[in-house]
Amino acid sequence: MQTTFPQLLIKHAAERPDAPAMREKEYGIWQAHSWAALGKLVEHIACGLHQSGLKRGEHMVLVGGNRPRLYATMLAAQSLGAIPIPLYQDAVGAECVFPINNADVRFAMVEDQEQVDKLLDIRTSCPTLEHLFFDEPRGLRNYSEPGLMALDQLIESGKTFANSQPGWYAAEVAKASPNDVAAMFFTSGTTGNPKGVVHTHNTLLDRARAGADFDKLTSNEEVLAYLPPAWIGQNIFSYAQWLACGYVVNCPESASTVMIDLKEVGPTYYFAPPRVFEGMLTTVMIRMEDAGSIKRGIFNYFMTVAKRVGPARMDGKSTGALKTLLYAIGNLLVYGPLRNTLGFSRVRVAYTAGEAIGPDLFTFYRSIGINMKQLYGSTETAVFVCLQPDNEARADTVGVPIAGVQIKVADNGEIMVKSAGLLKEYYKNPTATAEVLTADGWYHTSDAGFIDASGHLKIIDRVKDVGRIKGGANDGAMFAPKYVENKLKFFPYIKEVVAYGDGRDQACVFINIDFDAVGNWAERRNLPYAGYADLAQKPEVYQLIKECVEKVNADLQVDTLLAGSQVSRFLILHKELDADDGELTRTNKVRRGFIGDKYQPLIDALYNGKTEQFIETVVKFEDGRSGSVSATLKIGDCKTFAAVKAAA
């Protein structure tokens, strides 16, 4: 049955008025909003927006974290046939200018003073922006800018309107068709201006339902909404699937309490990019290092048991009686309490996506009894393309195409997707649309990959990034930077990697160490350091990283496709790559080209055999000021291995 988001809300409010729809932790207590209350709130906001002049088909910007009223405003805009555009709350002002102007946005709803200031700052560059509503009034009492209004005030005026015209809202919601545009998401874009990805109610709901059916989600699921609402993944998990299934979305108290809230909520359906899982594991490991020797001994013993037995159990295979018994004891003593501490006691399905995940990390979670799986999708495909079935989760694939998805591999190795969830178009950008959508409905993912023997999709890299080594011993070999970067990033000591090699005679990398992990490693070795830059240049740290790189090289030599991508030289950067400096995208992906231009002298030094290189760079602080950092960086050489010839 085809429907729209506001219609789903009305349906839930009518069928289960008192069931909780959302919870928000405020003043230390989880406060529930029932479906009926939420329905009323949305109606009032919608009426208020209507009175302020929001028109059908018009766009409205939302900037803020996961707050019930932000999602309510999204629903309210959709009720009027307007199109919400969620923007990243941590984006700097300048990054908001393009979306606002691109979509001629007159209306914005933001979370708090910080966001209000941000939008007021760019107001001169965004002449269309007229109305600015804010959720949290703190600090805004003395603001008198035109068009600025508290959401509370909007709700009040909407309430009066709704009471005077009782049937108006329902009639307005009924006007929408499932094929109307429902929302627009700006892709972070590693190059050029971001593109507005246009989705209809149908495309989003089709995929939301397909994903829900695949994992048999019910209205009893509990979800924690903690990733930016501007990211389509969060939007699918805490909006599209929320309304499709009618489960409960929990909003954390603040960004810093997410881990505490996670434990309190105990979600049954969970999603996180690999770096979140990695962060949790690092915390556990650091705490175990500090634990008493008995505790540590028990932990270490049962973790080896878990590694041997856990994954097989998760895959539904039977293990011997003794192993089963050992695992049961381990579950009682270690895995159970650990799951509880991590907030995963009740989790039925946990997904990771967005980046490749390290095999050790992946195995760790599965071995302690968490049903962790991978999925493949993007903003343009409304997320769900491939998912891993419960018993077939593996670290190096991204799953099988689910219901409603067709997949094929183009001649250049590019994955092509066809489904009912594909984007309608890129907003005001027919050229870009034509580039990714073929006339017969196939979408170019621009990911290179293949389908393996068991029918699982395996991704190698972005098509445009896959290059060739030119000259040297491996002339003509395939070079997949992302593949190399990921393999290195699987080491806990390495946070970010940028690999170069296309059109050159060998592969070289920039490395960002993980400050927490390496810092802890250094402390345990009584190695003093003053800060990130100092730690990064320690010879001991270079030796540590060198070992990691050489392990990856040893691993790569047996890869028939990518043996030529082995890394021969590396350096550790003196600063952490940062989205504020344009080095990462807002979703924390490295912008290889930009970094290459910015650190050109470093690349030159890697390839002309120098052993160290001086570099000075400008850094931007969060408050907009900038400063500069400089350092002389050492360059490390690594052992590479001759490729093992296949079928030799």
């Binding site: 230390g28 207590i29 600090g139 003395n142 603040s254 810093s256 309490t257 505490i260």
Partner: protein
């Protein structure tokens, strides 16, 4: 931004304080108006903390008087001062290190808790209702100062900047009319200082709390305070708006020294 500054709420007249032969304060007079942020500055040993301690009733000056909300006192009594609505934070922190953040802030509600020890210990009758009411007030402060993530953390485990924030939270728990802050930004990095400034301004703005603060960071003082008193060797050498004080020759001399 417009701010409504009211009448004089605290008037300090001719205060002199000596410890034996050491004259900590000599004939110092100044006043504080309602809703303003009043800074006390001066070099080390100028008598800033002594001044605060006189207002707060920790020290009893030998001469002078203090008028608070129309009532004049020879010297203050620290309990009475707290009841009248003056709260303070400490330069070197005076938190209960082993207690959680929440308990520390709850301690700030002590004066407002009416039920007796027995009822509280057994948490029966009105005591339970009262505790819930006070917890709500404390939660609002926790939310205000953005320390939700540390509710249950023992204070001793927190970094210094956060301990300072807990100290402020405990003072706010008294719902004071006048807040005395003794070097709230001391020992903090730039980012922590910015946060603290924000909180002080927000407290002043949201609750209308009058703030008297001692601070060494001139940038901070000039940015956030409405009027500044300058002390040097126990004497008042300047009083006025930040701009006036900055151009006062005596102040320049005390801070920068002069060439002879």
């Amino acid at each position: 931004m417009t701010k409504k500054i009211g009448d004089v709420i605290l008037d300090v007249q001719n205060i002199s304080l000596a410890f034996g032969g050491v004259k900590a304060l000599q004939d110092v007079s100044f006043n504080v108006k309602e809703h303003e942020i009043r800074a006390i500055i001066g070099p080390n040993g100028a008598g800033k903390s002594s001044m605060l301690n006189c207002i707060n009733g920790v020290y009893q000056p030998q001469q002078g008087s203090i008028t608070f909300k129309g009532k004049t006192f020879k010297h203050m009594n620290s309990h009475q001062v707290a009841v009248m609505g003056v709260a303070r934070t400490f330069q070197n922190l005076a938190l209960f290190k082993g207690m959680s953040v929440l308990d520390n802030i709850m301690a700030g509600r002590n004066l407002k808790i009416k039920s007796n020890l027995l009822l509280q210990a057994l948490r029966i009758g009105p005591a339970e209702k009262e505790e819930i009411m006070h917890r709500e007030a404390v939660e609002k402060i926790i939310d205000f100062l953005e320390i939700q993530a540390y509710r249950k953390t023992p204070v001793g485990m927190l970094p210094y900047g956060l301990q300072k924030r807990v100290d402020l939270a405990r003072a706010l728990a008294m719902e004071p009319q006048v807040l005395l802050l003794d070097e709230p930004m001391a020992g903090m990095n730039v980012e922590e200082k910015q946060d603290m400034c924000r909180f002080v301004l927000d407290v002043n703005d949201e609750f209308g709390t009058t703030v008297v603060l001692i601070e060494h960071d001139m940038g901070v003082v000039m940015d956030i305070s409405d009027r500044v008193v300058v002390l040097d060797y126990g004497k008042k050498i300047g009083d006025g708006t930040p701009t006036e004080v900055r151009s006062n020759p005596d102040v320049i001399k005390a801070y920068l020294g002069t060439s002879h």
